[in-house]
């Protein structure tokens, strides 16, 4: 919320870019890219979020404290996801002795 601000035209350009990215992500979903579909979706979503944060929310011009506040939640959400998935992805490799053998895969009935 400083005195300097983006001109209206730039905000409109950002909006148009966001709509183009939306079109790209929707179109890409109809092409079979295997795992690439999800990766493309998430990268595009992250790009859109970054544009919104940097321009609409002025993160580009915010002071360091605000940037740290914005980054902190991302970092800690990453911690939560990383360690939880660390459990899920390695759980079937080496079942604990007190688990029954049938349980040793993530979920045998899952499809």
């Amino acid at each position: 919320m400083n005195a300097r601000q983006d001109p209206v035209s730039r905000l409109v350009w950002i909006w148009l870019t966001l709509l183009v990215l939306l079109a790209v992500t929707t179109a890409s979903a109809y092409v079979d890219l295997g795992a690439g579909n999800s990766i493309a979706n998430l990268i595009i979503a992250a790009a859109k979020a970054a544009l919104i944060a940097l321009f609409f929310m002025h993160l580009r011009r915010s002071d360091a404290t605000v940037r740290v506040a914005a980054g902190a939640a991302l970092l800690f959400l990453f911690f939560l996801a990383f360690l939880t998935f660390g459990d899920y992805l390695t759980r079937p490799m080496h079942p604990a002795p007190w688990r029954s053998p049938q349980e040793s895969t993530l979920n045998p009935h899952a499809v």
């Binding site: 919320m1 966001l18 979903a29 109809y30 079979d32 506040a69 939560l80 992805l89 499809v111």
Partner: protein, 210 residues
């Protein structure tokens, strides 16, 4: 407002304080959505095929239109913030009302979507019907679908109410007096938009091509 503004040294001190407060609040909001997002990731890991099948039952047309509606509403909110900082009271008011109107459009479309999902028996706690082989995973998906979109809609409703309230208050207050409040409402609105930007691909676009 003046009653509790006394402990701030200046307007810019007040703006900076409100801005940081909102960003910290948004950090908590992101963590609040965290278990849903992670629950989704775990479910997709366990039930990949069922998630894809379930996702294909969502209404991608309404979903896409709604995404565009929200992105546009964010533009108007950004314009409102720009207007308020240059003291253009009427312009701020118009932009806020347009933002709120687009928010209402989103909710109405979402309502139609919920209605058709209810008619198609896709609500997991009300006579859920799905291909038996994929039923469990699809139920998991739709549970999270309603939880995430419902929570998002709740946040959006709060944003709409705030936008309208500040637009109405601009009839009596100057833009200068409400600059902090409008700026902070904008941050909140953009955050709600950002959440949707992630919900859209993970809910509507899973293996659409299949």
């Amino acid at each position: 407002m003046s009653s509790h503004a006394a402990h701030f040294e200046s307007d810019s001190h007040r703006h900076e304080t409100a801005e940081l407060g909102m960003w910290v609040f948004l950090a908590t909001e992101l963590m609040f959505f965290g278990p849903l997002l992670l629950g989704y990731a775990v479910g997709r890991e366990m039930y990949g095929q069922a998630f894809a099948a379930a996702s294909r039952h969502t209404d991608v047309v309404i979903g896409t239109i709604n995404t565009a509606v929200l992105l546009t509403s964010s533009l108007f909110m950004a314009l409102a913030a720009a207007a308020v900082r240059s003291d253009r009271t009427r312009m701020t008011m118009r932009c806020l009302l347009l933002t709120a109107a687009l928010g209402v459009v989103f909710l109405v479309l979402k309502g139609f979507e919920y209605l058709s999902e209810w008619q198609e028996h896709l609500v997991p706690w009300a006579d859920f019907r799905f291909e038996p082989r994929l039923r469990q995973g699809a139920g998991y998906f739709y549970y999270l679908y309603f939880a995430m979109t419902g929570l998002h809609a709740l946040h959006l409703t709060i944003g709409i109410v705030a936008s309208i309230v500040f637009a109405l208050r601009l009839r009596v207050n100057s833009a200068r007096a409400l600059a902090s409040q409008v700026g902070v409402t904008g941050l909140y609105w953009h955050f709600v938009d950002m959440i949707w930007v992630f919900l859209y691909p993970i809910l509507y676009l899973v293996e659409r091509h299949g």
